[in-house]
């Protein structure tokens, strides 16, 4: 048989099998080794996709040291063999021609000189050694779990500071604070199985048809099988998701709080709330009048009802622009006990100066109506990065956290961490590290003015493109003489500002573990070698830590004098800081097993590493029972969650009121910090597109994706374009009080913003929209709002701006 016929046979077998799985709506085990038998000229292994937080698994085909094929993993419960267009092309992300392959140090004249890894590690160690308290580490939800754990340990255990943050602060911090405020513990109670059981799916400022297409296709598949599912899209612009929805509720930016309150108001007024569920499992909270906290203060049911009284459908219509009849429709659905309602959200609710509040309110509507704890009844936040949950939220690579959901502010949590890391008492600083915006503010401020961070190491992220108000929060550092170290795989706006550039291995060029949006921890092995001298981020961290150890830096020793990342095999130390020996042991496994010991305090139990090797991910808590490891689909529910006591039914065992109750919150609607006015009359919303992943540093190197969506644009309403006198494709100037860009107009393109608002995706480094965005952030999560600020728009060469 010809090789091409061979390949076509595999492709048809994969597609036919996917048809069957989709038709059945479930995963059927494939015959073991089926890929190997049909494709015997290469090698196949499983890995989670490199891109978003859905956590699809792929089978990666390799041949002669290269990734040559990708297949949706038929055994993966998340994607059932399907892929989105980014996952389909994920293998090509490794092979852009400008991969970084050598460490490079900036010369005084601004050019770069190639240096050795030994020299690079020395440079970093010297910077840290000189002023450890002025060093900050910034990573992302693309750090693998071991990478994030190593970075956090190096900073918190080794340097004795908490100056570590991750870009997940910019994308899901408000989801985390929402969960903490309501349930006392982070991450969703439900999972993707809810999408297979709901009758009603509500997308709150969320566009899963483009951003989480494989999950969205699960719901659409059910529809195509004849199931009746009502899709309700609540948004500020029409998207591809809207096209599939029976109801579209378009609200004025920032007024989603009023909508949630309007639903609660009607549930109370019509007495359609679930009194039995509420009395058994819920308590009520509001913010303190003075010095509000994430925990808030207890209020009575009557007080809660009194505060909700003003949110009549008519009042909500006045605030939000959503017709009162649509508020009544939503409340009517929530008031029906026999429906199963799933809410999904992502950046629209999280990138919000009231992000914690709107998260808490959506959870509260579900609790108040009893739409919680049954398959299909769940409020669930989605994540944009592959391990925002697994690494940032669970490992705790943030200034206020310690591994396993512990907090720097709690002395007992510091003591537990010191014990687990075998550190002398008091090694971990009691001072919370700066959150991302604050960290970059200090890095971009002169030392004399309080800018006390002078060296920053960035791994696996691109803040040069993604920090809001980028001129103020990224661009100033270089002129101030600050020192920026960047580990990455391709040149980016961040590497271009760097003093030291380190080439990194990516995805299947290294071992890794991710944790997706539904608490699923995933594992993969290195399959191909990275190009040139590119090396694992985790190795880079350990190598710097070891250099400091060798120089006598006390923090890099535990209380027995051993190196913090001491690794033994057969009783002898393995020099994992020497890259020639890094793969002599499985460093990922060693770090993960150490990290596992942190995971139980918040009942986020993880299985041994070997269990993840065998599985397509497992959802925590994973507990051992009858000699086998079992994952958990639904938390807080008896019979599903192993930590719910028998007879309890539902038990919120991390309740902030310490009585197994979840908190139903009241938060008032408040206007946003910046709104359109006479000078800047348009709303600007930023976001993503189907073809490109976040800042585009990988997907813009994948030719088909780049050609499909070659550059950014400003999406504009037709009436606004007419008023401005601009044509489709014409370049306009979009400017805010912070910056401006020239960008082509797309009139009612893929999305349709209402009059008076525009949308710009952020994937294109040549059109850096974050020069315009606002750094204002949520008071609890510290997450900035990329979804709304005021801009004006004019034709290139024209003065002034047309009012919408």
């Amino acid at each position: 048989m010809e090789r091409r016929d061979f390949l076509k046979g595999i492709a048809m077998a994969a597609a036919t099998a996917a048809v069957a799985r989709v038709a059945e709506g479930q995963v059927r085990p494939s015959p073991a080794g089926s890929l190997a038998t049909v494709r015997d000229d290469g090698h196949w292994e499983k890995a989670p996709c490199r891109f978003c937080g859905t956590g699809c698994h792929v089978q990666v085909g390799t041949k002669d040291g290269r990734v040559v094929a990708i297949q949706g993993d038929a055994q993966a419960a998340v994607n059932r063999g399907l892929l989105c267009v980014k996952g389909y092309h994920v293998g090509l992300a490794l092979y852009g021609r400008d991969r970084l392959t050598r460490p490079q140090l900036r010369r005084p004249d601004g050019s770069y000189a190639a240096i050795t890894w030994e020299q690079a590690i020395d440079v970093i160690a010297s910077r840290i050694e000189a002023r450890p308290e002025r060093f900050a580490f910034y990573g992302s939800g693309q750090w693998t779990i071991p990478e994030g754990y190593a970075a956090s340990k190096m900073v918190k255990a080794g340097l004795g500071t908490n100056n570590v943050e991750a870009n997940a602060r910019l994308c899901m911090a408000s989801a985390a604070t929402g969960y903490l405020a309501v349930y006392g513990v982070d991450e969703p109670a439900g999972c993707y199985d809810d999408l297979d059981a709901c009758n009603v799916l509500i997308t709150w400022g969320n566009n899963p048809a483009e951003m989480h297409p494989v999950l969205f296709s699960r719901v659409m598949d059910r529809r195509s099988r004849g199931e009746n599912i009502t899709l309700i899209d609540i948004g500020t612009r029409r998207t591809r998701t809207t096209g599939f929805a029976q109801h579209y509720l378009e609200f004025k930016p920032n007024t989603d709080l009023a909508i949630a309150n309007g639903i609660a108001h009607l549930l109370l007024r019509e007495n359609t709330y679930d009194r039995t569920f509420v009395e058994a499992h819920c308590a009520f909270r509001g913010l303190e009048a003075q010095s509000p906290t994430l925990q808030g203060e207890a209020i009575s049911f009557d007080e809660y009802k009194r505060r909700m009284a003003e949110y009549t459908p008519e009042h909500v219509e006045q605030i939000s622009g959503v017709p009162a009849a649509q508020i009544r429709m939503l409340a009517g659905l929530f008031g029906q006990r026999d429906l199963r309602i799933t809410s999904l959200w992502c950046m629209g609710m999280n990138q919000h100066t009231r992000g914690t509040a709107i998260n808490a309110l959506v959870h509260s509507v579900h609790l108040l109506s009893g739409h919680f704890g049954k398959p299909g009844d769940a409020p669930t936040s989605l994540t944009g990065q592959p391990s925002a949950c697994g690494t940032v939220r669970e490992v705790g690579t943030l200034g206020h956290q310690l591994p396993g959901g512990r907090l720097v502010a709690k002395p007992e949590h510091r003591a537990q961490s010191e014990a687990l890391w075998n550190l002398p008492a008091g090694r971990i600083s009691e001072h919370i590290g700066p959150h991302t915006i604050e960290m970059f503010r200090r890095f971009n401020t002169a030392a004399a003015d309080g800018g006390d961070i002078d060296t920053m190491w960035v791994q696996v992220t691109n803040p040069g493109q993604t920090m809001p108000n980028a001129h103020a929060y990224f661009d100033r550092a270089r002129a101030l003489g600050k020192f920026l170290i960047v580990s990455d795989v391709y040149p980016t706006l961040t590497t271009r500002a760097a003093d030291l550039i380190l080439p990194s291995a990516m995805w299947v060029e290294k071992n890794g573990m991710f944790g997706n949006s539904e608490r699923r921890t995933q594992q993969w092995f290195k399959m191909v070698a990275p190009p040139g001298e590119a090396r694992d981020d985790c190795w880079q961290t350990i190598a710097v830590a070891r250099r400091l150890f060798d120089r006598g830096f006390a923090g890099m020793r535990d209380k027995d004098g051993k190196f913090l990342f001491h690794t033994e095999r057969d009783g002898r130390e393995v020099p994992i800081w020497d890259f020639r020996h890094y793969y002599d042991v499985n460093v990922d496994e060693r770090l993960f097993e150490e990290y596992r010991s942190f995971s139980r305090v918040k009942h986020k139990d993880l299985a041994p590493y070997s269990e993840y090797v065998a599985a397509r991910g497992l959802r925590w808590p994973v507990v051992e029972r009858d000699g086998a490891w079992h994952e958990t689909r639904f938390r807080f529910v008896e019979g599903e969650d192993p930590y719910v006591a028998r007879g309890k039914g539902v038990q919120f065992y991390h309740s902030t009121s310490h009585d197994d109750r979840a908190q139903i919150w009241f938060h008032p609607y408040e206007p946003p910090p910046e709104s359109p006015d006479e000078a800047y009359p348009f709303w600007l919303c930023t976001g993503r597109v189907l073809e490109h992943w976040h800042s585009g540093s990988m997907t813009m190197r994948i030719p088909p994706l780049r050609r499909a969506m070659p550059q950014s644009y400003v999406e504009m309403n037709r009436a606004d374009a007419r008023r401005l006198g601009v044509q489709d494709g014409e370049t306009v100037v979009v400017e805010s009080r912070r910056g401006s860009i020239e960008i082509p107009v797309w009139i009612e393109g893929r999305g349709r913003p209402p009059a008076g608002s525009v949308f710009v995706p952020f994937f294109d480094e040549r059109l850096r929209i974050n020069e315009l965005t606002l750094e204002a952030f949520d008071p609890f999560s510290k997450q900035p709002d990329y979804k709304k600020c005021a801009v004006r728009i004019r034709k290139r060469g024209a003065r002034g701006s047309a009012a919408p």
């Binding site: 597609a15 036919t16 996917a18 040559v68 094929a69 399907l82 090509l92 659409m220 195509s224 030719p703």
Partner: protein, 91 residues
Amino acid sequence: MPVSGMVLVLSDEPAVRDSALEALEREPGLTLGQRVGDRLPLVAETSSTPTCMALLERLATIEGVRAVLPVFHDFSDEPGDGQEERLDGAS
């Protein structure tokens, strides 16, 4: 020449679905599999990955095709380095 496997979701209206199937049969480089309800497995051979992406987009615009779900992609014949210009325009 990349080889792709995909699943098309077709309209559940028989006349529209039949019209889509006719259009698909006219597409060069496609091998249609056995339809199950509104799902059609197919294999596409294209000259390059960009052509493949263009095909995905074109298939999605055929009346009666509601969604295109990719499942398999072999690009072992594709060139690696040098397949795309640098973002910053440098050579």
